[in-house]
């Protein structure tokens, strides 16, 4: 369980129907961020902000691992259909990275309570990048030196973006928490 001083809280008690609505809403947020990110021209190749990861991490900490996996899968499938990369190489890399990083972040959140949002985001970023590099090697490149030479750049950029996303996530969670305690939600938890 997360430690008491960690801003990450446990899953909120919710009805099945409400959880479904929330997953839809969060998926929409993730898709928005994903779409926004593809519009931003990046000066360095391989620099992906991974803004959708913020939503994944928030979903894990508020609604649990299964909801987060659902949000990630919806984001990747629908996002790739929008971008026209569905079932293409970019889709496979995106799916592998997204699913693996969500699993790793879920495990970290559940069993390693010492990490806050920044730590979990960093771990997720590394999981994402390593899974993508591994998949790219296995499926497309088959040249270990090619993967090895770009790996440090990708991982270093991932460290920067992972830290940034984790901080955004930490701020969001803190504010959501204070919002939750100051405004009493209507209706009782089932």
């Amino acid at each position: 369980m997360p430690s008491p001083n960690s801003p990450l809280t446990g899953p909120l008690p919710l009805s099945k129907e409400k959880l479904r609505n929330i997953i839809a809403l969060l998926s929409a947020y993730a898709l928005c961020l994903y779409g926004l990110e593809t519009l931003i021209p990046s000066p360095i190749p391989w620099l992906r902000l991974g803004l959708a990861n913020i939503i994944t991490l928030i979903t894990i900490s508020l609604y649990g691992f299964r909801a987060a996996m659902m949000v990630t899968l919806i984001r990747i499938f629908v996002g790739s259909i929008f971008r026209g990369t569905f079932l293409g190489p970019a889709f496979i890399l995106s799916l592998g990275g997204g699913v693996f990083s969500t699993i790793v972040m879920g495990i970290t959140w559940r069993f390693l309570g010492c990490f806050g949002p920044v730590g979990i985001s960093l771990i997720g970023s590394y999981a994402h990048n390593l899974a993508q590099l591994f998949l790219a090697y296995i499926l497309f490149i088959r040249r270990i030196e090619a993967v090895a030479l770009i790996a440090p750049i990708i991982l270093l950029l991932g460290t920067v973006t992972g830290t940034f996303n984790g901080m955004v996530c930490g701020i969001l969670l803190r504010d959501l928490k204070s919002l939750g305690s100051s405004i009493s939600f209507q209706g009782k938890a089932p």
Partner: protein, 129 residues
Amino acid sequence: MRLREIINLTTAADRVLLFFLIIATSFSFSFVRHVFPKGTEVEVKVDGRIAYRLPIDVDRIVSVKGPLGVTHIEIKNNKVRAIDAPCENKLCVRQGWIDRGSIICVPNRVIVSVTGGNSKKDGLDAITE
């Protein structure tokens, strides 16, 4: 949002992890450069098949056709780059000049690698079956 507040949101483990990862990735740059030295040959692969094998010290421009269209590759001053590619994101073009490793265009299935040279030493001398 003040910086102090943001730092307060991180746990000690977060900070240790961040510090460790920055150190590790920084070291991996020099580690990788050490393990994979410069090559002497440029190998252009399209869809897994070798299209060209050229010496890196002879300047020239070659064009290869992939599933999406033609990728132009330039060799100059012992370096190689992709000049133009038909793909969407043009990562290969933006990667610029390389003298080791590879330029990979996944959409157009083109791989330009710098091979040979010192790295041959660590390779296999022969394979028997």
